[in-house]
């Protein structure tokens, strides 16, 4: 019931006392050894990565290949995923769709978190007016619920995948900026930063060479959490018809298209639903395990 407080810090086993000198390989290793959840998460993501790379090559049919004679058929030997109203094989479509969905999610995550890191670090380091201005802009961006902001952005620029990625990136930026700024504020108060200032180092050097390397652990956790959310947001936009347009094999769009046939052909919805859910579950499992391992209290945050 009560959390053990653990070994007193002064007795904690010497070198590498937490987070300070974790290296990438160590983290990965510790994750896989220590947590079955992380292993399942990593496995799911690897499968999806495989789909994204090899899916189109492995898929039995092209995503847009019509088979007028086989419409709305249940899964069979010929059509493993069943067929839709145009006779397209649903499994092939899901396999083709992995690439665009994951690419979109990756691009928008990198963009959003990247911008957030810059904004958060710059604000925390310079403080004062710069910080105030940046944070008020971030507040305003956050005053619009994520999906709403994405919808607005897409209304005007149109549903091009590049714009969708940009839109999601803009949605993520303020949220990541806040997280990073919190970390950067405590870093900026550290004495080694004062030492760098007193040496007369340039601001950009301090931000990127002194502060950033100390923030990568929380940033990686942020990346995994955002990646999961990017898939959710991207497929939701697709479902609403604001993302990819037919006949693209977008997972969200496929579920929307399956809705009218739900009674006759439920398999049309089930495959893409499973694809979406499993990829997000994978990212969330990994994110949870990472934040536990790096002793960052970010459990439960998925937004």
């Amino acid at each position: 019931m009560f959390a053990p407080l653990g070994v007193p810090a002064e007795l904690a086993p010497g070198p590498g006392a937490r987070a300070a000198i974790w290296r990438g390989a160590e983290v990965a290793w510790a994750l896989l050894l220590g947590s079955p959840a992380a292993m399942v998460g990593a496995l799911l993501l690897v499968i999806h990565l495989g789909l994204a790379v090899f899916g189109p090559a492995l898929a039995p049919y092209h995503f847009a290949q019509f088979n007028i004679l086989h419409t709305l058929e249940t899964p069979s030997r010929d059509f493993l995923g069943g067929t839709d109203q145009f006779g397209r094989d649903q499994l092939s479509r899901v396999m083709w769709g992995a690439r665009s969905t994951l690419l979109l999610a990756t691009a928008s995550t990198l963009l959003g978190v990247g911008l957030g890191v810059v904004v958060g670090m710059v604000g925390a380091f310079y403080r004062g007016f710069v910080d105030e201005l940046l944070m008020r802009i971030m507040d305003a961006l956050m005053a619009l619920p994520a999906l709403l902001l994405a919808m607005l952005l897409l209304t005007t620029v149109g549903a091009n995948p590049v714009y969708v990625a940009l839109g999601i990136g803009v949605v993520f930026m303020p949220r990541s900026a806040r997280v990073v700024r919190g970390i950067a504020l405590s870093l900026a108060a550290a004495e080694f930063i004062d030492a760098a200032r007193a040496r007369g180092e340039r601001g950009l050097y301090i931000i990127f060479a002194e502060m950033l390397p100390n923030a990568w652990a929380p940033i990686i956790v942020e990346l995994t959490i955002r990646f999961a959310y990017a898939i959710l947001l991207a497929t939701s936009l697709g479902f609403l018809g604001l993302g990819a347009q037919p006949p693209a094999p977008d997972w969200g769009l496929m579920i929307n298209e399956a809705l009218p046939f739900l009674a006759q052909a439920p398999w049309l919805a089930i495959l893409p639903a499973a694809a979406i859910s499993s990829s997000v579950v994978g990212a969330n499992l990994l994110g949870d395990a990472l934040s536990d391992l790096l002793a960052l209290r970010r459990r439960g945050e998925t937004l």
Binding site: F2, P4, L5, G6, V7, P8, E10, L11, A12, P13, G14, P15, G16, A17, A20, I21, R127, G128, D131, E132, M135, R136, A190, E191, F192, D194, A195, R197, A198, R199, G200, E201, R202, E210, P213, N214
Partner: protein, 689 residues
């Protein structure tokens, strides 16, 4: 081991062993500790960090079960607590067995009033009705000398000062008249004047209660002041135990002697700037014990010490030590400190001070940003018209408690903070406020050493990168020579070149501080600002760092601007001292002048507050009254008048006293004439018992 006057001991610990289970193997925090505490006595458990003293405290409370393996016996009035189910322990906790923790801010619940946090104990254990419990709570608050108990009881923890919070914790622990009171570093983190008043309180408590008190601390002075018995812990074992007077007068364990010797003394001028330090580090807590644990750091160690674990030797009635050769242990004060190195070249006697701070002012708003724009955040005057100067090759110490503005001065000098007004001059020429605007040469000449060894080095940079960066920046080395240059620097601070490729987390706190000093000295600076460089370190490590600073100064003629709250350290290291209170100078002058009467009343209070090892102190016991000041609301006149024990009258509230300097350079800012101060302060020196 302990004489037991008057009845059965409250606490008898036998062969207590505590092992934490960690991913990196078992960590043996306590390795066979035995203690006896009779009722009405104070047992002081003293040790440096890593000695396992706090683990003993929690084990005595039987509060470690869920996280560690505990074996041995903890008998509370004859009843073994180890292995007792929590349901039964709950009837003892808070009622018969009570504990006060180190940091009162985090051990009081922020969303409950402090009164309620005491009342709930009375309700739980004594089944008192609300009205009755409240009345008793007010009594208890009064007993711990909280001013205006009824008003305090309604407040939340964050509305109280640290000292008041700790008084609340103590009152709560005393609520049900416990038979055993465990105090785990209850004054660590408090200012020295606050600490003195809490110690006074504990002192008066021990005379009033029949409870046995287990007092855990790292501070030998506190033990000397409060305890009847002392147990010195080292690496999870008790090195020595016995009556306080006997142990401190004639310790029989080399560690105890070394610990007493390496303390800078507040009660006498230093014979030399070097202290007999304890070199080396604690043994790995994961290792099995099969030799004397202190042997690697012991000057007396023989072959036998390294191959056999010493048992307990009775050295005198009621006193014992864990040392084979306890009879050969020399008394404290006989170890000669190493001599200072010969200075390199001759000190230049330049007429101008190296560093001058002229009328420095630093004000800031308490809340930044939008709050400041919308509401009017109060202005805090951190530093108010402070002037000081440092001449080449001297150490000027700036002393004060938290909120005195001492760190702000250091940060303004180094350029990390920008002063609101005033000037900073080097060699008589004003320097730009921002470091980036300062010429490279100036930045090279002015370096810093910080307080916190955890954060003073970038955790993601190797030691080589940390030390070589300033060399590169100031163009002193190129890519080829930087490694050898860095190795030479490490050597100068007593570290081997193999440390170059390690990360800060792989070094101990003292080693990290050495690296920080190496970094500061990398470019042969003229002035190093030392911002509390030893306050986060254990006393044995502190001694090595102070020695390092002293020998570097002797060799390089470097000046130090030494910021500290520790008067003992200041007396040891400084040539001149400036005493700050609320951002203003109240006393300044050569060190020995400042440490001898007459004093500014605030200096007097500070000196009398420090718990000292010596039985008779030069100072009387006068205490700081009143609440800690709010730097946002400066009092009129002399800033010290609301708390001054020697307040003269209305003039103190009206006028800021000028800083009056004698021809020997000793300055005091007080309305009381110097002669009168001297008379008042030498009239009745009350010995501190």
């Amino acid at each position: 081991m302990t004489r037991a006057p008057g009845g059965e001991p409250v606490l008898a610990v036998r062969d207590l062993r505590v092992t934490y289970r960690t991913g990196a193997g078992p960590v043996r925090a306590v390795k066979g500790v035995s203690l006896v505490l009779p009722p009405g006595r104070v047992l002081g458990l003293v040790g440096e960090s890593g000695s396992g003293k706090s683990t003993v405290a929690l084990a005595v409370m039987a509060a470690l079960e869920s996280e560690a393996e505990v074996t041995g016996e903890v008998r509370f009035r004859g009843e073994n607590l180890i292995g007792k189910p929590e349901r039964e322990l709950r009837r003892l906790w808070g009622r018969r067995l009570a504990m006060v923790f180190q940091d009162p801010t985090s051990t009081l619940n922020p969303v409950l009033t402090v009164g309620d946090q005491l009342v709930e104990v009375l309700v739980e254990h004594e089944g008192r009705g609300p009205a009755e419990a409240r009345a008793r709570m007010l009594e208890l608050f009064a007993a711990v000398q909280l001013p205006n108990p009824a008003e305090i009881a309604r407040r939340y923890p964050h509305q109280l000062s640290g000292g008041q919070q700790q008084r609340v914790s103590i009152a709560t622990a005393l609520a049900c008249k416990p038979a055993l009171l465990v105090l785990d570093e209850p004054t660590t983190g408090l200012d020295v004047t606050t600490e003195a008043r809490i110690l006074d309180l504990v002192d008066s408590l021990r005379q009033r209660t029949a409870a046995g008190i287990l007092y855990i601390t790292h501070n030998l002075g506190v033990i000397a002041r409060l305890a009847d018995e002392v147990a010195v812990m080292y690496a999870g074992e008790i090195a020595e135990q016995g009556p306080v007077g006997a142990v401190f007068a004639r310790p029989r364990h080399p560690y105890t002697v070394a610990l007493l010797d390496c303390l800078p003394r507040i009660d006498r001028p230093p014979a030399t700037r070097l202290l007999p330090a304890i070199e080396g580090t604690l043994p790995d807590p994961r290792a099995e014990v099969c030799a004397c644990q202190f042997a690697p750091r012991c000057a007396l160690a023989q072959e036998r010490c390294r191959g056999e674990h010493p048992g307990w030797f009775e050295t005198a009635p009621g006193q014992g030590a864990r040392c084979f050769y306890w009879e050969r242990v020399p008394p404290p004060g006989t170890v000669r400190a190493p001599a200072l190195a010969k200075p390199r070249g001759r000190a230049s006697t330049r007429p101008v001070p190296l560093l001058e701070v002229v009328d420095l002012v630093h004000h800031y708003r308490q809340a930044g940003g939008l709050t400041a724009m919308l509401g009017r955040a109060p202005i805090v005057r951190a530093v108010d018209r402070v002037s000081l100067g440092v001449v080449p090759a001297e150490t000027l110490a700036v002393v004060g408690e938290s909120g005195s503005g001492k760190t702000t001065i250091a940060r303004c000098v180094t350029g990390v903070l920008q002063p609101t007004a005033g000037e900073i001059k080097v060699d008589g020429r004003p320097v730009p406020r921002r470091p980036a605007a300062r010429p490279r040469k100036l930045r090279r000449r002015l370096q810093i050493v910080f307080q916190n060894p955890d954060l003073t080095l970038n955790p993601r940079r190797t030691i080589l990168e940390a030390v070589a960066r300033p060399l590169r920046l100031f163009g002193l080395v190129d890519r080829r020579t930087r490694r050898s240059a860095a190795a030479r620097l490490l050597e100068a601070v007593g570290l081997e070149p193999r440390y170059l490729d390690l990360f800060p987390a792989q070094l101990s706190g003292g080693q990290r501080q050495r690296v920080a000093i190496a970094r500061a000295f990398a470019c042969r600076p003229d002035l190093v600002v030392c911002d509390e460089p030893t306050s986060a370190l254990d006393v044995s490590v502190q001694a090595t760092v102070l020695n390092l600073l002293a020998s570097l100064q002797a060799r390089e003629h470097t000046s130090y601007l030494f910021i500290s709250h520790d008067l003992s350290v200041v007396r040891h290291i400084a040539n001149r001292v400036v005493v700050l209170y609320l951002g203003r100078i109240c006393e300044a002058g050569p060190t020995e002048e400042v440490f001898a009467p007459p004093w500014h009343p605030y200096t007097e209070v500070l000196l009398s507050a420090v718990p000292s090892l010596s039985a008779t102190s030069v100072t009387g016991t006068i205490r700081l009254e009143g609440p800690a000041p709010n730097p946002a609301v400066l009092p009129s006149g002399c800033p010290f008048h609301p708390r001054c024990p020697r307040k003269l009258g209305p003039i103190c509230e009206r006028e800021m006293p000028p800083l009056v300097t004698t021809d020997r350079g000793h300055a005091i800012a007080c309305h009381i004439p110097r002669a009168d101060l001297l008379r008042l302060q030498t009239a009745a020196p009350v010995p501190v018992s």
